[in-house]
């Protein structure tokens, strides 16, 4: 249950939703993804209400990575990445080579290209999360067949079924925001995989031009990774803004209801300050 939440997610930001368990983080994520409709108020994406869009349109712009994925049957990593292309295809359409490229590129960006033919159940925890993130990236890929451009990279354009020719004269298209939502992305992983996945997540806004929102209860993770933070307590926003401003001792104490004793312990555990 969350109440009276109003927040903005700037483009290209890496926003963390921080709060204790039960504070409503998952609910907030679901609202952003459009899988939950608010009882009052609305969710806007690019200035448009989510509720006005069809499921497929929303899915092309918002992808969710859950904390854990349990498969009923054993699919390969490539098949799972390809599933991200679902909202881009019609009811009986089969994935085109462009879609396959998109999935492979996504796997490559998450460092799992070499696992394409491996069964998902055989992967490690970290590999599984990265494959699911790849699936989400494939889902958000509006122009399949092109490698994502990072500034400074040599741009390689792979032509498959279509080409995109950048032209200075062409009017710039209406900006399409894409959002990746991750629910406690490292909560069930070993430390080694936590670091692996965290590194990957940090690169996403820059490399792919997508906004990232993740929920977590891990202070250090939030502080290290995010550019913006939203502190959520019992369904209400306690504070929001850039990390440095929000993540103060006082705020954390209020969020987690820590007394002076606990604060002292926390200080010594995490070093001076937060």
């Amino acid at each position: 249950m969350i109440d009276n939440v109003s927040l903005e997610i700037p483009r290209g930001a890496l926003v963390g939703i921080l709060g204790p368990n039960g504070s409503g983080k998952t609910t907030l994520l679901r609202l952003l993804a459009g899988t939950l409709t608010p009882e009052s108020g609305h969710v806007l994406l690019d200035g448009e209400k989510l509720s006005r869009w069809s499921r497929a349109v929303i899915a092309r712009r918002c992808a969710v990575v859950p904390q854990e994925t349990h498969l009923a049957f054993d699919y390969s990593a490539l098949e799972i990445a390809l599933m991200g292309r679902y909202p881009h295809l019609g009811a009986f359409e089969v994935e085109t080579p462009a879609d396959i490229d998109s999935a492979l590129n996504a796997l490559e960006s998450t460092g799992t290209r070499h696992l394409a033919d491996r069964g998902f159940q055989t992967l490690s925890g970290g590999e599984k999360q990265r494959v699911i993130i790849a699936s989400a990236l494939a889902q958000l890929d509006q122009a399949p067949g092109l490698r994502p451009q990072a500034p400074g990279d040599n741009v390689q354009v792979r032509t498959s079924t279509f080409e995109v020719i950048p032209s200075p004269q062409a009017p710039s298209p209406k900006p399409v925001s894409r959002l990746l939502l991750l629910d406690e992305p490292t909560a069930s992983l070993d430390l080694r995989y936590q670091i692996e996945v965290a590194r990957l997540i940090r690169r996403l806004p820059k490399d792919h031009g997508i906004g990232v929102v993740l929920s977590t209860h891990d202070l250090r993770f939030a502080g290290a990774l995010c550019t913006e933070l939203v502190l959520l307590k019992e369904g209400r926003v306690l504070a929001r803004g850039p990390v440095a401003e929000v993540l103060t001792e006082a705020r954390v104490a209020a969020l987690y209801e820590l007394d002076a004793e606990a604060l002292r312990e926390m200080r010594s555990a995490t070093g001076a300050g937060v």
């Binding site: 499921r55 009923a72 699919y75 799972i80 390809l82 599933m83 909202p87």
Partner: protein
């Protein structure tokens, strides 16, 4: 580097299964305890009513082979869809109460049918199946939070138990011959003798398979979990309801033709997944074709093993399916 679509690898297997089905259906009518000759069946020299070979071929065996293929295909495909819906490879077409309802309908028709000769056993079993499906669906949809597969499963299991008790009660009221007939119906019987039960079931089967074709991709995504599928744009509730109804329809149609034949809905999908992977767009057609071929072969065994007596085909599928299943379980560890 061009990577081929993962489904490409499955195509030869699907083609093989299709070939197996066609061969089985065309070949089965020539196999049996009474040997008939290919030449005589198609020769026009002997007048049709006198041509015993042709009569056996056309009246006794060909409809039987077609029925076996249809029932085998339906039960296998329904098994695949139920497993996708319940996200559990151990689900069968009978998990959710359809067959208990069909069995109850058939029992009632056999025991009390003398009073109302109009209602045949097949239509009574369809009515029973529809009743069971209706009750289970109503229970699963009655929640404010929408359609729940957990409630579906619980309702189905409960209904199975309840209807089984009712079946025992009806059998208690029957006389000897009725009890025996009822038991034989429960073991499966593909001796249709004519095309009417097949033709009657065909519209339901057609509708079910159209739904299956549409469901193939959503079922893939449902494997990731309902939330994950929802966030990828799948209308999860619609897919679940459609899966439940179409698979129940196919199962009900199959049971009305040949009785509740077991093990096909679980052996064939498992086998197929070992061969083509988990993509439902390959698993569904391959299971349908392989299931059809499999049941035709089981039926051949059933009618030739202890001639002139016939073994119920359900016994054959159980004798093959049981050990296969045990092997699967052992292998998984």
């Amino acid at each position: 580097m061009d990577v081929p679509h993962p489904l490409r690898r499955a195509s030869p297997v699907i083609a093989f299964c299709f070939l197996a089905m066609v061969t089985a259906v065309l070949g089965a009518p020539f196999v049996g305890t009474t040997s008939i000759s290919f030449v005589k069946v198609f020769s026009n020299a002997i007048a049709s009513p006198d041509n015993l070979d042709r009569q056996i071929f056309l009246i006794a065996r060909l409809p039987r082979a077609v029925a076996a293929a249809l029932v085998g295909g339906c039960l296998s495909a329904a098994g695949v869809v139920f497993q996708g819906l319940l996200r559990n490879p151990l689900a069968t077409p009978y998990t959710l109460g359809v067959s208990a309802g069909a069995a109850l309908g058939a029992m009632v028709a056999i025991t009390f049918g003398a009073a109302t000769p109009v209602v045949g056993v097949a239509s009574a079993s369809l009515a029973g199946a529809a009743l069971a499906v209706g009750v289970v669906y109503a229970l699963a949809s009655a929640r404010r939070s929408g359609f729940s597969t957990t409630v579906l499963l619980l309702a189905g299991v409960t209904l199975n138990a309840f209807f089984s008790a009712l079946i025992l009660f009806v059998q208690y009221l029957s006389n000897f011959a009725q009890v025996y007939r009822a038991m034989r119906w429960l073991m499966g019987d593909l001796d249709v003798g004519s095309y009417s039960p097949i033709v009657a079931a065909l519209p339901f089967i057609a509708v079910a398979f159209v739904a299956f074709a549409w469901l193939a991709r959503p079922l893939n995504l449902l494997s990731l979990g309902a939330e994950a599928a929802e966030s990828r744009g799948v209308d999860v509730e619609r897919a679940q309801r459609l899966a439940f109804f179409s698979a129940s329809l196919a199962t009900g149609a199959a049971v009305s033709i040949g009785g509740p034949i077991g093990f096909i809905g679980i052996i064939v999908p498992h086998l197929v997944r070992l061969l083509v992977g988990a993509d439902h767009r390959a698993v569904l057609p391959a299971s349908t074709f392989l299931g059809a071929a499999f049941l035709v072969i089981c039926d051949i065994i059933a009618r030739t093993a202890i001639a002139p007596m016939e073994l119920p085909v359900g016994v054959i599928t159980a004798l093959i399916g049981g050990p296969f299943f045990l092997w699967l379980l052992v292998r998984r560890r």
